[in-house]
């Protein structure tokens, strides 16, 4: 019985007990239903263990060598390849992916750029107050969920932060105040207690609330009498009291704040608000944790930032990084690509129909550990081992803490990991002198 990290979601719980005989996983104790499903993926029906290529309307099994050759052929033909995904692979594989993009003059991006990457990119200007889950357990007395529903997206987050008892918060739930800001009554509202605050904000009006809070920090008597964004004056006063009076607050920011319409402005104001509170507050501070869903979404930001100084949208030309205004979504919508390499994600079912239909017009190479809608329409499918179960790797938790994922069992058919696949492709392309 050993405790292993689970790579089911971005929380990367490192306390999961797994009983295994080295071939199969028998029992998983402590993991939530999401983690359990992730461990079940090893023997799931939609698991793919051999490389496939397209023959007419059907996918046909081929050998690895032939598969690599076909992939390199496609890449050599392509002039503007697009590499997308990289959120559910290890950091080593992400680095290989970026090097591959550099070699083949492609555009590489992760799912992070339409999610929390916006905050990290933005925070280069405004600054970001970070914290870790350990600090939240031991010190936090105020936890705010803004546009997030962890009870459904990251099930064990509330358990670890709100309900845990820490060194300086021995009474646990009783001393920790929970505030939820959300337009709909989500499952997370189920844990609201009498001391907590649930704010039902009007959809898309977050920016108004943030602006009022920013004004309030300066002058305490300018609360609008009719309330703001569907929140009445009393609740506003209580929210402000909690924000400025907390010893150690943490805001979990979800997708709710990243509305495509005005997210740039909202994030700017939001980060400024946190900075303002921290500079005014004498007792403690407020920190921010962005809640990405995929387990290594934060990792891509770190790998790209450390090696190329940019969190996403890395565009290479003549094997050099090039400044580009277009992000991946704009690239797909203007069809500025002629080949897409999708690693560990499923854009066909996640992106809107008009974008995914444009993606389908060009050849698609998929590297993933399971069948997906993208895998079904792909020209070439390369199966990979699941990181954290069948191979090792480094991943970044949602609070930017690196966690070493472990190998528990051997992969079926000895399929290589994402890192090995990408390295082999890079090696073959270098040998071929492309």
């Amino acid at each position: 019985m050993k405790r292993v990290p689970c790579s089911g979601c971005s929380l990367l719980c490192d306390d999961i007990i797994v009983r295994s005989d080295g071939i199969f996983i028998d029992e998983v104790v402590g993991a939530c239903i999401k983690g359990k499903e992730h461990f079940d993926q090893v023997t799931a029906k939609n698991r793919q263990t051999s490389p496939m290529h397209r023959e007419g309307n059907n996918m046909k099994k081929i050998e690895w060598d032939q598969c690599y050759n076909e992939v390199t052929e496609l890449i050599k033909k392509s002039k503007k390849p697009l590499l997308y995904g990289f959120s559910t692979v290890s950091c080593e594989a992400q680095l290989e992916g970026i090097q591959l993009a550099e070699k083949i003059n492609g555009h590489i991006d992760s799912n992070s750029s339409i999610c929390q990457g916006k905050v990290i990119e933005r925070s280069k200007l405004e600054g970001l107050t970070l914290t870790t889950i350990g600090e939240v357990i031991n010190k936090a007395d105020l936890i705010i969920l803004w546009g997030a529903n962890p009870a459904e997206s990251i099930p064990r987050l509330l358990n670890k932060t709100v309900f845990s008892r820490g060194k300086f918060r021995m009474t646990g739930r009783e001393i920790k105040t929970l505030i939820i800001v959300d337009p709909v009554q989500t499952a997370s509202f189920g844990v609201i207690g009498v001391r907590d605050l649930s704010l039902m904000i009007d959809p898309g009006k977050d920016i108004d609330l943030i602006r009022v809070l920013k004004d309030e920090c300066c002058t305490a008597d300018s609360i609008p009498s009719e309330g703001v964004a569907g929140i009445d004056t009393d609740d506003l006063k209580r929210l402000l009291l909690h924000l400025t009076g907390a010893e150690y607050g943490v805001i979990f920011m979800g997708q709710g704040l990243l509305r495509p319409k005005n997210d740039y402005e909202t994030l700017k104001e939001f980060l400024e608000l946190i900075e303002m509170i921290n500079s005014k507050q004498k007792k403690g501070r407020i920190a921010l944790i962005t809640m990405g869903g995929h387990y290594n979404m934060t990792g891509f930001d770190h790998v790209a930032l450390a090696n190329y100084g940019q969190t996403g949208n890395l565009n290479f030309r003549n094997n050099q990084l090039e400044v580009t205004e277009k992000n991946t979504i704009q690239k797909i919508s203007s069809e500025d690509f002629d080949l897409s390499i999708i690693v560990g994600t499923d854009p066909i079912s996640h992106l809107p129909a008009n974008l995914s239909s444009k993606l389908m017009k060009h050849p698609i190479i998929v590297i993933d550990n399971k069948k997906s809608a993208t895998g079904e329409i792909a020209d070439l499918f390369l199966p990979s081992a699941i990181t954290g179960i069948e191979c090792e790797g480094l991943a970044y938790r949602l609070d930017h803490v690196p966690i070493e994922l472990q190998k528990i069992i051997n992969p079926p058919n000895n399929i290589p990991s994402d890192e090995e696949i990408l390295r082999e492709l890079l090696k073959r392309l270098k040998d071929g002198g492309s």
């Binding site: 998983v28 983690g35 499903e37 509330l158 845990s164 499952a187």
Partner: protein, 155 residues
């Protein structure tokens, strides 16, 4: 308060709790029986005695056996019940910081999350059976379950 209405309200000090108000509370908590009040047995209070017996009798009929139902369809294995349960906190130190308790479980452990679903292990150490006084009214697992999968019942 409903029970107090039917007591003699004389504070005769013949029973253990001494006052009628305290007796009513003790009666509600099941610490004393109706027969512990001597004046009630007198023919003068026969009507009140019968009404009280009906009231208490119906409640006693329900308070037979504690049952904690965990709906595995609704449960998503978040483990809030494991962390928040005061009995688990006493016997399984990892749960204090929100971690999964050791496996195989401690003999006192009440909840564990196994195969992604919550499991009730040993109901006889639940505070609703073991503890005294206010601690006996513990309902934290039911209150804080975000999926409302845990229901405490008496059958």
């Amino acid at each position: 308060m409903d029970l107090y209405k039917f007591l003699p309200k004389t504070n005769c000090k013949k029973c253990t709790p001494k006052t009628c108000m305290a007796f009513a509370l003790a009666l509600l908590q099941g610490k004393v029986k109706i027969e512990d009040c001597p004046p009630l047995l007198e023919p003068k209070y026969k009507k009140e005695y019968e009404t009280l017996k009906e009231l208490i009798g119906s409640e006693e009929g329900q308070e037979k056996e504690l049952k904690i139902n965990v709906d595995t369809e609704l449960c998503d294995g978040c483990g809030i019940c494991v962390t928040v349960c005061p009995v688990n906190a006493r016997y399984c130190p990892p749960t204090l910081s929100g971690k999964a308790p050791d496996y195989p479980p401690d003999s006192h452990q009440l909840f564990q999350v196994k195969q992604g679903k919550c499991e009730l292990l040993n109901i006889k150490f639940c505070r609703r059976i073991e503890a005294e006084g206010r601690e006996r009214e513990c309902r934290v697992c039911e209150t804080y379950c975000p999926r409302e999968a845990i229901k405490i019942e008496y059958v």
